[in-house]
Amino acid sequence: MNAALVAVYAFRETLRRRVFLAVLVLTTTFIALYWLGARFVFSKTSGFSGNPVVDENVVRGASVFGLALFATYFLGCVLAIFLTLGAIRGEAERGLLQPLVARPVGRSSLIGGRLLAAVLVCVPYVVAVYAIVLAITRHTLHWAPDRQLEPMLALMLAVTIIAALSLLGSVFLAPIANGITVFMLLGIGMVAGLLGQIGVVMKIHSLERIAEASSWIAPFEALYQRSLFALTAETSGVTKTVLSLGPFGGPQAGPSQLWLWSLGYLALVTAAVLAAFARLDL
């Protein structure tokens, strides 16, 4: 009950800070650009492969939609980070937190409310953007991913994990330091994922092992990779090979227990936030 109350106030504060307006404008710009790009790709790339065995529609659709998936993931993460980076230490430094902590509300409710508010903004955002770009892709490129629900679920969970990590960082770090740290974590995850893709294509096992290890350490990146993988999960043959050489490489399905591990990871991070905040002197 108290967590819901805190979530409502955090949500209202988000509205007040005009985050939504900025996000709406930028997202509209991104979607417009995507729609424009998709139209150009469709009209200018007919017969580009010169190979009748390659399904050009799949290559076109998966490549362009892969770009949209990255943008959705990245914008969702940006939103999650900015909504939570100053939630604890930042608000304590501004004197906003102390009057709330002194009330007979558990600290777990306060932190749960903040996480809930961030998730209630980021997850619907990811769902909405995903649904819109999917509709544009279907309509403009006449293509749809092999699995349509899985990429969205993977991005939803990835963004939730990022929000929880940013909240954990906000217990220990000042807002700017926390923002930099989480963005760098996101970047390291992406680099590890790309190294893994290079490893698979070039058959370098040590790089593959790095990618595998990063899946456990940074499951948000593995989830993003899984979302890319799901786009052409049922595609095979020459088309699949061509796709693996494309701009998004050969995305990996990740560990078989990825979903379970990601949920467990989220629970561990949330427990760490609760434990750290419970011991924090304000």
Binding site: L5, E13, L96, A102, R103, P104, R279
Partner: protein
């Protein structure tokens, strides 16, 4: 009825720094106690431990019999932090609604009206925090601390941002709280203010309690100040009982006595003596 606040050998360490080095303190229900001490004496740390914002490193603190920081202890306190801020997009009334919900107060609109009236913000109930002066925000902070009818009010520098009229409002408010049996721990640098309203004063220095008592226990007699035709003079080591004798002797000696006043040291002098500080 248990004491509003009890601390026994309360200790707080921040790394190698000891902020509180074993503080014993008791505040009775309805008692108004001033907490004094130089900067870094541990006053704010003590207040924060009592309201559960900071954890103690040792000893014990109890609020109305409940362990400080526990849910029932926090339900019994009202707290105004030294540095606080409310979301600037909320109005005065909305701030109180939020805190009523957090405190599970059933006071409703009547409680909000009463509290805003107490701090002189009746006309500002729809004004957003962003449009309030610092003094108005401070008064709203006091009203917020009173939400849910606390039994112990912890005020950390409540008048630091107030003008003289605002300070008087808070002083009058504290007098009214006494009538409502609400105990108050007032942490302030304004010794004159503490002198005016508090039943008892507690002085901390370097994390230790160096003095506690009623105002006349902490201050001492400095003698008798007499104005005669020969001028004003101070006769030391003279108590109230000796005043008639001194006056008789002066009159007998042919002096005209215009005024007689027993002089005590001020709280500031007592404070400086006890803490060895140059300033409060």
């Amino acid at each position: 009825m248990p004491p509003a606040l009890t601390t026994r050998a309360l200790v707080k360490r921040y790394g190698r720094t000891t902020a509180l080095a074993g503080v014993d303190l008791e505040i009775a229900p309805g008692e108004l106690v001033g907490l004094l001490g130089p900067n870094g004496a541990g006053k704010s740390t003590l207040t924060k431990i009592v309201c559960g914002v900071v954890r103690s490193s040792g000893g014990e603190a109890r609020v109305c019999g409940a362990r400080a920081g526990s849910r029932s202890a926090r339900a019994a306190i009202g707290y105004l932090a030294e540095l606080f801020r409310f979301p600037d997009w909320l109005s005065a009334e909305e701030v109180l609604v939020l805190h009523q919900r957090l405190a599970s107060s059933r006071g409703g609109a009547d409680e909000r009206k009463d509290l805003l009236g107490l701090v002189g913000l009746t006309d500002a109930r729809r004004v957003r925090v962003s449009a309030m002066s610092k003094g108005m925000q401070q008064r709203l902070g006091v009203a917020q601390a009173l939400v849910g009818r606390p039994r112990l009010l912890l005020l950390d520098e409540p008048t630091s941002a107030l003008d003289p009229a605002g300070r008087r409002t808070v002083r009058e408010l504290l007098e009214r709280l006494r009538e409502r049996e609400i105990a108050v721990l007032l942490n302030s640098h304004l010794l004159s203010e503490v002198e005016l309203v508090c039943d008892r004063v507690v002085i901390l220095s370097h994390g230790r309690l160096v003095a506690a008592g009623a105002m006349n226990e902490l201050t001492r007699s400095r003698g008798l100040e007499i104005e005669t035709d020969a001028g004003v003079r101070l006769i030391e080591d003279v108590g109230r009982e000796q005043v008639p004798q001194v006056v008789r002797e002066l009159v007998a000696a042919g002096e005209d006595v215009f005024s007689v006043r027993l002089v005590r040291s001020t709280l500031e002098e007592a404070f400086l003596e006890l803490t060895g500080s140059d300033a409060a």
